[in-house]
């Protein structure tokens, strides 16, 4: 029956892992705005090569 003890230990560890993931998500503001991401996904990026980074100046800039 000791396998049950092992199973319980594994399942609890797994559940604690999920709880930790949840805590991380809440702490990092994943639950702050649940609306905009749904809109963001509608527009797929056409030039995925460009990433928004201030250190990579874009040549097409025109203020």
């Amino acid at each position: 029956m000791s396998v049950i003890i092992l199973l319980i230990a594994v399942s609890l560890t797994l559940a604690l892992g999920f709880l930790a993931a949840f805590v991380w998500a809440v702490r990092h503001g994943q639950y702050e705005d649940t609306c905009t991401p749904a809109m963001r996904i509608l527009s797929d990026d056409q030039n995925p090569g460009k990433t928004p980074s201030p250190s990579q100046p874009s040549n097409q800039a025109k203020p």
Binding site: M1, S43, S58
Partner: protein, 870 residues
């Protein structure tokens, strides 16, 4: 979708263009913003644009590889109005101001959050998040659409803050910077997050404890021995501890607070039950007598927290507690020796000379130095007619200059103006002792004493029977099973559902408790302008006076019936030729005076008409100009008579007359008056069956007759009401024991809204300025007030019914418990069954009541997209 009339334009208040209900599409419309456009002056390839601004933005987007913007929705742009000049935003480069505005700054990289009211659709989100392609100094930008905010990271060495704001406004997304934006950089997100964490911890523990409890219920002992029982018991105790300490912490705190104040709220029996549950369970497990009730404990806390999360649905985008500072701009133009400079309001000093352009707000009490003041005080007094001021006259803060540019000299600091002092009035700072006298708390008071009495009686009974062990068990069992889970869930889920359904119909409540007060409302007080009458589309009728027949019969009949509201005669006012109409339209388009704006809006646009020459606008008198080879005058009787054009007597009708003369011959008069919102008559009739009604207006009495007819003899009508008069009126009603609802808009109602039991702010655009209130209602929903009140009454009835159901469960549970035979298994079944059934009943009944109440059904989906693109 029956959305409110929304047009995503920048600086809507200062804008004089006709408001269109929806953004129309099709040919003849600007490719960028969808406004109608004339001619092909601004065209590129096969696309047409309404103005140079739209064309420039389009080209900029194309060059930067942002053409995808136009694929995301039709005409997604926002028309660029006014100059988006760099100078206008120069004040943002002030380091003192920046310190208060920036979210983050480490010298190398800054982050700032701008409010952008004109953001309205998917394409806007996309464009604003691709700002980095427009300028090398911009890094990541993130949009929070519900709040209409964008956070931009930028390198101050490459782009100044002012430059960034100018870039945003040049593509049509002018940031809204009000005085309120200063010093609120820290977002109040922590309570929100804590709630989620508490629910998460409770849910985690609940699931695992259930898993570990099932073997005990199934009799695992019989073939595995007591090892597992002890192990599972200890594990359960450990898992339940964070639930008790962390997840339920708010209940402990508020129960302790209630006990200290010697009152009983619902949290007291909850805390009592939790303590009994954990105490009994720990005792059973530690002594090896049983498996305890820890699954019930964690389940109870989990359900309670779910109810709280469900109820505390907040409308983040909508601020319910705003004051005058959010109405004020952040900067003004100051006249200095070195010329004009845009400075932050916080740097203004007494004696400064300011330059106010058309549509700008007077930030502090001041004296008019130069120019003709045409001040619209509607936000302060409610009077919709602008007043003329001469140089030397005193001007109050909060007024808006609607004529030509003026110069004013500040006589009092911003914080000591009449408006600010009005706000400092104690009534404006009144705080209702909220949330203690709620329906739930009234019931729980009786409930708690009853439960304690039963528990003591049961214990006493078994003691006299000579069975003290059973007596103690019965005492604890009663407290455990009577833990008012169902009672605690009824109100959150009923009111939460009602609040959610109302939000879908664009009626936003500050919190769920407002519904309880709404249900008790006896007297309803209305403001006039902007509440019962629509602020913009005042009715215009034309009364020809020339020659033989003075007034056509149908029009005079309409004028005599004030509630019918002579509708805009789009394109065909009797008595004027198309050419004459075109001339009037042209002339009126030159002016920003409300009467001219109304007249121009009522006429069919005639952009082909000849331009106006020699245009003159004499404040308080009228307009004149030459169109083609005709001289057109439009203005007051005195002015025209002064110019030597005798005006025959006008038909007596309510409204402001504007007399039209072409080439010196008087043709007739335009009458402009406020019209009621559609269905107002039905609304008043509907409400007057159950409620006392009153009307308070800052306006003059010119429309008294119209409203007397509407409200009947029983209604109180008061005109010339100052903000303090309104407040006093509400207070007198309350002193008479009435529960008062105030429906109003604008700053002039702010005190009354706050004083009343339920303050309802009427807005034309959700997210636009509204004073502090309990309910925010778009103008188009005012006719549904009756339905809203009905739904509130139904909801309280549903809560009472749910209490009945929970009382039934409690009767069963308590009788088992008092007999001293409660087992963890019975508890584990009874607790979720009672909770779930009450929740289902509350949600289902409320949804049904909402459907029957006659509220407009909006389609499902994020409510904040109602004002999005076509």
């Amino acid at each position: 979708m029956a959305s409110i009339a929304v047009k995503p334009i920048i600086a809507a208040e200062a804008d004089a263009a006709p408001p269109s209900a929806a953004r129309p599409t099709g040919p003849g419309r600007c490719f960028h913003c969808g406004e109608p456009c004339v001619g092909t002056r601004f065209a590129r390839e096969d696309k047409r644009f309404c103005c140079q601004g739209c064309l420039t933005v389009h080209e900029l987007l194309k060059e930067s590889g942002l053409g995808q913007f136009y694929e995301l929705s039709q005409h997604p742009g926002v028309r660029v109005r006014g100059k988006a000049g760099r100078e206008k935003w120069a004040f943002l480069d002030d380091p003192v101001l920046q310190r208060e505005l920036l979210d983050f700054s480490d010298g190398g990289v800054n982050r700032v959050t701008f409010q952008i009211p004109s953001m309205h659709c998917v394409a806007c989100v996309w464009l604003l998040e691709n700002l980095f392609r427009l300028h090398p100094g911009i890094g990541e930008s993130r949009v929070n659409f519900p709040r209409r905010e964008v956070s931009v990271t930028y390198i101050p060495g490459r782009i100044a803050l002012g430059e960034l704001a100018a870039l945003l406004s040049s593509i049509g997304y002018e940031p809204r910077l009000s005085l309120e934006a200063l010093g609120k950089a820290a977002a109040p997100a922590s309570t929100h997050r804590k709630q989620w964490l508490q629910v998460g911890v409770a849910g985690f523990a609940f699931g695992n404890i259930m898993l570990l409890s099932v073997p005990a219920y199934l009799g695992l002992d019989s073939f595995s021995g007591p090892v597992f029982r002890t192990l599972f018991g200890w594990l359960n105790l450990a898992l339940a501890l964070p639930v008790l300490i962390y997840s339920a912490s708010d209940y402990w705190k508020s129960a302790w607070l209630a006990v200290r104040q010697r009152i009983v709220t619902l949290d007291v029996p909850i805390a009592l039950g939790l303590a009994a549950l954990y105490g009994q369970s720990a005792f059973e497990i530690l002594t090896g007598r049983g498996e305890g009730y820890l699954d019930s404990l964690s389940g109870l806390v989990f359900f309670l927290l779910c109810g709280r999360v469900f109820q505390q649905k907040t409308h983040e985008r909508i601020a319910f507690d705003r004051d005058y500072r959010s109405f004020f701009p952040l900067s003004v133009t100051r006249q200095a020796a070195a010329g004009e400079a845009v400075v932050p309001i916080s740097q203004l000093e007494v004696g400064d000379i300011l330059i106010l352009r058309q549509g700008e707000i007077i930030p502090a009490d001041a004296t008019l130095v130069r120019g003709a003041g045409q001040i619209d005080y509607s936000f302060v007094t409610g009077e919709s007619r602008p007043v003329s001021r001469e140089p030397g006259d005193h001007l109050y803060a909060g007024g808006r200059q609607i004529g030509a540019t003026i110069e004013i000299q500040i006589v009092k600091p911003v914080s000591q103006s009449y408006l600010a002092s009005l706000w400092a009035h104690e009534a404006f700072r009144k705080h209702r002792s909220e949330s203690l006298d709620t329906l739930t708390n009234r019931y729980s008071r009786r409930f708690t004493w009853l439960v304690i009495a039963i528990a003591l009686a049961a214990a006493g009974y078994w003691l006299t029977e000579g069975n003290p062990a059973r007596g103690i068990k019965a005492f604890a069992s009663v407290l455990i099973v009577a833990c008012p889970c169902a009672l605690a869930l009824a109100a959150p889920f009923t009111f939460g559902t009602a609040q959610r359904l109302l939000a879908r119909a664009q009626v936003f409540l500050k919190n769920a408790l407002v519904l309880e007060r709404l249900a008790r409302v006896r007297t309803i007080v209305f403001d006039k302008t902007g509440t019962l009458t629509t602020p913009r589309s005042e009715a215009v009728s034309f009364h020809p006076l020339a020659d033989e027949d003075s007034v056509p019969p149908d029009r005079s009949a309409r004028a005599a019936d004030p509630t019918a509201g002579a509708q805009n005669f789009a394109g065909s006012p009797s008595g004027l030729t198309a050419g004459q109409q075109a001339m009037v339209w042209r002339l009126c388009r030159q002016s920003t005076h409300p009467v001219s704006v109304q007249i121009a809006e009522s006429l069919a646009p005639a952009p082909a008409a000849a331009p106006v020459r020699d245009y003159r606008e004499i404040p308080g008198a009228g307009l004149c100009g030459t169109i083609g080879n005709h001289r057109v005058h439009l203005g007051s009787r005195q002015w025209l008579e002064g110019l030597g054009m005798p005006v025959p007597p006008l038909p007596a009708a309510a409204g402001t007359p504007a007399i039209l003369a072409i080439d010196g011959r008087v043709l007739g008069a335009f009458l402009v008056r406020g019209i009621l919102r559609p269905d107002t008559q039905r609304l008043i009739r509907d409400l007057s069956q159950r409620h006392d009604l009153a009307l308070l207006s800052g306006d003059s009495e010119r429309e008294r007759a119209q409203f007397e007819q509407l409200f009947g003899r029983a209604g109180h009508l008061r005109f010339h009401q100052s903000p303090l008069d309104k407040l006093g009126f509400i207070r007198r009603l309350q002193d008479g024991g009435q529960v008062v609802m105030m429906v109003g808009d604008g700053l002039n109602d702010a005190g009354a809204l706050k004083q009343s039991d339920v303050g309802v702010a009427v807005v034309e655009r959700i997210g636009a300025f509204s004073p502090a209130s309990d309910v925010i209602l778009p103008g188009s929903r005012v006719p549904h007030l009756g339905a809203i009140l009905r739904l509130a009454r139904q909801a309280t009835r549903i809560v009472r019914l749910s209490f009945g159901i929970s009382a039934l469960y409690n009767a069963v549970g308590i009788s088992i418990a008092a007999a001293g035979i409660l087992s963890p298994l019975i508890c584990a079944v009874l607790m979720p069954v009672s909770s779930v059934s009450v929740v289902l009943f509350a949600c289902g009944m409320t949804a049904w009541a909402a459907r029957r109440s006659g509220l407009p059904q909006l389609e499902r989906g994020p409510q904040n997209q109602d004002e999005s693109c076509p």
